[in-house]
Each structure stands twice: as C-alpha cells, then as structure tokens.
C-alpha cells in the first residue's frame, strides 16, 4: 500500500475547501450556542447536517484525488444521494401542507428505489459520472422548490410573512439556482471532460460557487438565530 502523501494533499487545498470547512466549523459553533428550543428546529438541524456532510465529502474527495485514487464514488454517494436527500428534506421542512410533505416523502422513496434499481441492473456504477442520478435528483429538487413557491403564493399561512426576510424563501431560491444551473453541467460532464476540457473547468466553477453560496446561507441561518438571541435583531426569520 502506498504511503499517504501529505504534500500532495495540501497542494490540492484551495479557497473552496477552506471555506467549506470554515462554514462547517462555524455552523457547529453557532449550533452549540443555540438554545435547546432552537436546536430542535428542523431547518437548523438540516442546515447543519448539510454543511457538515458537504465539508466531509469535499475533504474526502480531495484526499482521494490528491493520492491519484478515483474519487467519483464520493460525489455519487454523498453529493448525488445524501446531500440531495438532505436538501429535499430541508425544502420539506419549509412546506406547510401535509399533502405536499407526503408527496416529498414519496419522491425521496422513489429516488432511492430508482437509484437502487439502476445500481443493481448495472446501468449506473458507483464510480461513473452519475449523470442519470444527478439529472433525477435535480428534477426532484426542482419539483420540491416548485411546491414551496406554489405554497408561498397560495397558502394563507404564508400571508403574514415577508418573503425577503424569510430563510425558507432564500434557501429555496439558492437551491433552485444551484440545482437548475448545475444539473445541465453534471449531465454533460462526460462529454465536456473528453471533448472540451477548458469549457469543463470553466463550467465546473458554477456548481462550486453555488455550493459555497448555499453553505454560506445555511451557516447564516444558524447564526441569524445566534444574532437574534444576543442582539435582539432578526435579519432572517428561521
């Protein structure tokens, strides 16, 4: 077995990895100083889970790629499955109607079932580009965002809120932008990587920056509660 090359690993560490880990650490610190009641908030818990899982798999993927080991399975498992489901659960926590929540739960089940069948039949491998699953989970997340926006403009429960001060609104908007912009990149990844490497690297910066933006927003969600506790000011209603 080859020895782990720390120098190669540190060579790979850039602003993206530092910021992602920074958000996870900040999120953990913020969460630890929240009140018991606030810690029980489903949106806060899911936001923390997302920033931690993203930091974990990004570092794991960097470790693998730095040691010249294929890391595609890390993205297929964590990004295309776990984080996608966490994002869907986050949007589910914003929904008010029981019927819509149930629909989202069914979507998650459906996604897992299809993923299982695709892997079982060999159509998709854990180490391939994962374009089918990326396409499928992005469509599901976009449907969930659609459900949220539909509830926003039709349900009376949303009438009293100011969407521009609501975490659910900004999180749904960020997720919508993130997944709608990145799913086309993910499904064309194989083609771009083999035929247009320059364009591939240029386009890959879009999901990278959207991931940073989403994680920043999720960390801010936790810190908005800290600010609310300390300074009695509510920048974002969670």
């Amino acid at each position: 077995m080859n020895q782990f090359r720390f120098d190669l690993f540190f060579e790979r560490i850039g602003y993206y990895q530092i910021l992602i880990v920074g958000f996870a650490v900040a999120g953990l610190i913020g969460y630890s100083i929240l009140s018991k009641e606030q810690k029980k908030n489903e949106s806060v818990r899911l936001s923390l889970a997302i920033v931690i899982v993203v930091a974990f798999y990004e570092i794991l993927a960097t470790v693998y790629s730095s040691q010249k080991i294929v890391n595609q399975w890390v993205y297929n498992l964590f990004n295309a499955h776990i984080v996608a489901i966490l994002f869907i659960l986050l949007i589910r926590s914003f929904l008010k109607r029981k019927r819509d929540k149930k629909m989202v739960s069914i979507m998650i089940m459906l996604f897992l079932l299809i993923s299982f069948i695709l892997h079982l039949t060999g159509i998709t491998q854990l180490n391939d580009e994962g374009e089918y699953l990326s396409f499928f989970n992005s469509v599901l997340i976009l449907c969930c965002c659609g459900l949220y926006f539909f509830e926003l403009i039709t349900l009376d429960e949303f009438l009293e809120i100011n969407p521009l001060k609501e975490f659910s609104f900004w999180a749904s908007t960020a997720i919508l932008f993130y997944f709608s912009s990145s799913f086309m990149i993910y499904i064309s990844m194989k083609y771009l990587y083999t035929n247009h490497l320059d364009i591939f690297f240029m386009l890959m910066s879009i999901p990278i920056h959207f991931t940073l933006l989403c994680n920043l927003l999720l960390t801010f969600c936790i810190f908005s509660l800290v600010i609310k506790n300390r300074f009695r000011k509510e920048f974002l209603h969670v």
Partner: protein, 251 residues
C-alpha cells in the same frame, strides 16, 4: 472565431439567459405574494368595516326600541302614577297624603329603572341567559305562548360586541316566531362543548317551506350578523310542525 470560442459564448449567453429566467421567476413569486398580501389586507379591512357597521346598526336598533319602550312606560305607567300621586297629595286626609308619598317613591324607582335602559351599559351587566329569561318571561306574561329555557351556561363569558349581536339576533328570532308562527310552545336551549357553543330556538308553530323564495331580507340579515361575529345561522322548518333555528358560535 474558433469553434471552441463560439461554444463558450453560446454557453455563456445560454447561462445568462437561464439565470435571467430564474430571476424573473423568483421576482414574479415575490410580486404575486405581495399582491395576495394587499388583497388579503383589503379583505380584512372590509370585514372590519362591515363588523363595525353591523354593531352600529344594532346599537341604533336597540336604542330606537329602548326609546319606544321609554315612551310607552312614561305614558302608560309613570304618567298614571303621577296622576294618582297628584290626586292623593291634593287630598287633605293624612292617609291619602301618605299614599301619595308612596306613589312618589314608586315613581322614583320606575324612573331610575328607565334611566338605566337609556344607555347600553345594561348589555355589559346582563348575561345572555338572563336576557333570554327576561324575553321569555315577557312573552309568557303577555299570554302568547308557553316558554321553556334550558342552559348549560356556555354563553356566560362573552365580549360586549358579540353579546350585543346575539341579543339582537335572539330578539329578532323570538319576535319572528310570535309574529309569524303563532306557536303554543317556544323553547330556547343553550349547549356547548370545547369547540362550539349553540343556541337552539324551537317553536311548534305553523312552520314554512324553506325552499320557497322569500321576499324579505330578515333571514339574510340574521345570517350576515352571525357571520360578522364569526358564527353561523341555520334554520330548519316543516310546514305544520314548527321551526328550529340554531345559532352557532365557535369558542
């Protein structure tokens, strides 16, 4: 321009266009939400205005009735008592004079009682149960019909505005029963649970066909009045068997 450059440009413009479309979508959602908020605010304002109008109308109606009642009392009761007092006090006999003073005391009591009815403070003092009992006693004393009252005291705690509307609606229902149904028995039953309170007014009078079109607006008014206080009004009637009115008010 090379093929790669044109592809980059195409992707760039496509991306910008896509981002623009998404932004338009999100802004449209915010605008739609704002419009709904404005519409909802207008609806609430209209409901508030209607509620205030209803309360004002009811207060006016009660004051008009009170004035008519005071007029009748002054003419039929106090006027008579004053004439008797005058006659007795003009007499030289000491026992007649004492009787005259008694009449004066009675007049003072009657005037005090009447002055209390002139403002609407009595609405706050009286419970709905007491008001219904008074109304039923008045009906029975005039000999129109026999009455019965049964209550679990669900309506003991009630804000003044709601009480005012209920008083007026109950008064109207009882008047309608006497005026149009000529019942032998009139019963008021109050029941409630943890979510809903009910007043049932039942008579065994003529009854009427509820499907037949009505020329008056009495029932519609009663319905509207109940709705302004968050309640509901329902009526069931059979020709020859009487009528039952149910006033529901959620807790």
């Amino acid at each position: 321009m090379s093929d790669q450059e044109s592809e980059v440009l195409l992707i760039l413009f496509g991306g910008i266009f896509f981002a623009f479309l998404m932004s338009v979508f999100v802004v449209a959602m915010v605008v739609l939400h704002r419009q709904r908020q404005i519409q909802n605010r207008q609806k609430i304002d209209n409901l508030k205005a209607e509620y205030e109008r209803t309360i004002l109308n009811i207060e006016n109606e009660i004051q008009q009735e009170t004035l008519a009642h005071v007029g009748r009392e002054l003419h039929d009761n106090i006027g008579q008592l004053l004439s008797l007092a005058k006659l007795n006090l003009n007499s030289a006999k000491p026992e007649k004079q004492a009787e005259g003073k008694e009449f004066i005391n009675q007049i003072i009591k009657e005037v005090r009682g009447l002055s209390k009815t002139l403002n609407l403070d009595w609405v706050e003092e009286i419970t709905l149960d007491d008001f219904i009992k008074q109304q039923l006693q008045r009906i029975e004393s005039t000999g129109y019909c026999q009455t019965a009252f049964d209550s679990d005291q669900s309506f003991l705690e009630l804000p003044k505005d709601k009480k005012l509307v209920l008083i007026r609606v109950i008064q109207e229902c009882l008047n309608n029963a006497i005026k149009h149904a000529s019942p032998a028995h009139l019963k008021v039953h109050i029941i409630g649970d943890s979510t809903l309170r009910k007043i049932e007014i039942t008579d065994d009078g003529y009854g009427f066909d509820t499907t037949a079109p009505s020329s008056g607006s009495g029932m519609t008014n009663l319905k509207k009045r109940m709705e302004t206080i968050g309640g509901s009004f329902s009526l069931s009637s059979t020709v020859g068997k009487g009528t039952q009115i149910t006033l529901n008010l959620p807790l």
